[in-house]
């Protein structure tokens, strides 16, 4: 369906450039991170990468712990591909694209131990904090994975605990107690088109992706989560190169927090 577009993009990549003149491993500019944009959330952030615009809100709820982890709180990540943000999105319950987005963002935060779940315990075996992260795109101009991950991290950084009297949460009074982030995992999605690798695909580039690898890494370059997508397979050399790009670009993106 996109034969001509694909061959055009590949010829541009061979000439070391892209549709908008960027270099292959260049993110769109500007990248902006705004904190605390949503007063009704316990933590929030808005991230823009080029024209892609995502809002993430964090709500804290008190609940019961899972039976196998009685002293640990938890996170729940939700994403809705709002029809508002992209003419291709249809209204309705989250489809597989939204579910994958939510789970990839979740994995980056959870597996890096960015949050110490034990610190989210209120009363062992009875009450724990649930950190609920909701991802809402306002404008989808490509690369929802990276923008959503960055926004989720920023929203967590912004999060303050609401008052809790042991029985009920009082959302109207926030305490000064901030949610503590132990690590900052950053997700970078590396795209393979033909035999070239790019980051931060725009809407047109996303139509001709052969394969993608979303790499989440922490400050010291250790990997904490990965997701391969796309119809084509990757060789070991491909993965090697893509991981390098993912870790390097992760360091750059982290500077925006």
């Amino acid at each position: 369906m996109y034969r001509e577009l694909r061959s055009h993009i590949i010829s541009l990549l061979e000439a070391n450039t892209r549709l908008d003149g960027r270099k292959l491993t260049e993110y769109r500019q500007p990248i902006t991170v705004e904190y605390g944009v949503i007063k009704t959330a316990e933590g929030s952030a808005r991230v823009k990468i080029g024209e892609t615009d995502i809002m993430v809100g964090v709500k804290l709820e008190v609940g019961e712990p899972y039976p196998d982890t009685p002293n640990e709180g938890t996170i729940i990540v939700g994403a809705e591909l709002l029809a508002l943000s992209n003419p291709e999105f249809e209204p309705g319950p989250p489809g597989i694209q939204a579910i994958e987005l939510a789970r990839v963002v979740d994995r980056g935060i959870r597996e890096s131990k960015a949050l110490d779940f034990k610190k989210l315990c209120i009363t062992p075996g009875e009450k724990i904090w649930m950190v609920i992260i909701d991802i809402c795109p306002i404008n989808d101009a490509g690369n929802l994975f990276d923008a959503s991950s960055l926004a989720a991290l920023a929203a967590l950084k912004d999060t303050k605990f609401p008052a809790f009297n042991g029985v009920k949460v009082d959302y109207k009074s926030k305490t000064d107690e901030k949610l503590q982030l132990e690590k900052t995992p950053i997700a970078v999605t590396v795209i393979k088109i033909g035999n070239k690798f790019i980051v931060d695909p725009d809407t047109e580039e996303e139509k001709v992706v052969d394969a993608r690898l979303t790499v989440s890494s922490i400050e010291n370059g250790t990997l904490c989560a990965m997701q391969k997508g796309g119809d084509m397979p990757l060789s070991a050399e491909d993965i090697d190169k893509m991981l390098d790009i993912g870790i390097e670009k992760g360091k750059e993106l982290r500077n925006h927090l």
């Binding site: 944009v37 949503i38 007063k39 009704t40 959330a41 929030s44 024209e51 615009d53 809002m55 809100g57 964090v58 709500k59 709820e61 939700g78 809705e80 709002l82 029809a83 508002l84 943000s85 992209n86 003419p87 209204p91 319950p93 989250p94 609920i132 909701d134 809402c136 306002i138 404008n139 989808d140 101009a141 949460v169 959302y171 109207k172 809407t203």
Partner: protein, 236 residues
Amino acid sequence: MTYKQRIDGRSFDETRPIEAKVGVIPRADGSAMFKIGNTWAYAAVYGPRNLHPKFLQDPQRGILRCSYNMMPFSSSGERVRPGGSRRSKEISLVTQKALLPVLNLEDYPNSVVDVFIELPQTEAGSRCAGICAASMALADAGLDMKDLVSAVSFGKVDDKLVVDLDYSEESYPDGPVADIPIAMLPNSGKISLLQMDGEVTKEELMKLIGMSKKVLMDIYEVQKKALKDKYKGVEM
């Protein structure tokens, strides 16, 4: 007789501070943001565009489809479960009825104009904010519209008639409260949304409707300016 002064210090016929901007969602055919106090609405318009399934198509005119949704973190209390509710479906319906009178969709048979309203933050008056954003977005999308639509909640708190109730007034404990969202076509003064919750006499209601024209004309001026500002660079 206890409501002497509004909790946030406004006068009784004053709205909360308003911010409006047009063209905030590049992928949409038309878009706008409308913020009143702490209630914040985005609207995106896509269309006229293809409509599936076929049985929804109207061979005489395009149809207007509206969707109102609160983001999960938008409520001042607990998280809102995503997926809409009966309330949001009803608001989607009355929003559609509020906007339809200004549109002429006869040039677009069998097609649809989709309006998506999303609220990242709400604190009373959300359906009216959504309608204000949606009407700017429809104009931004270049549709034939004989007027914009402006909306705000009117009502009564205790014995005072008020404009633009905020959350504390909606839940005022010490006396009767009435919450009356009204949407109006500013040029003709005709009303396209009228709902009511609470206690009010007919005389009080007619008085509020009388007050509404001036307040809604002020909101229309804000919407007008937001539309013109987007295209400011275009003027000579």
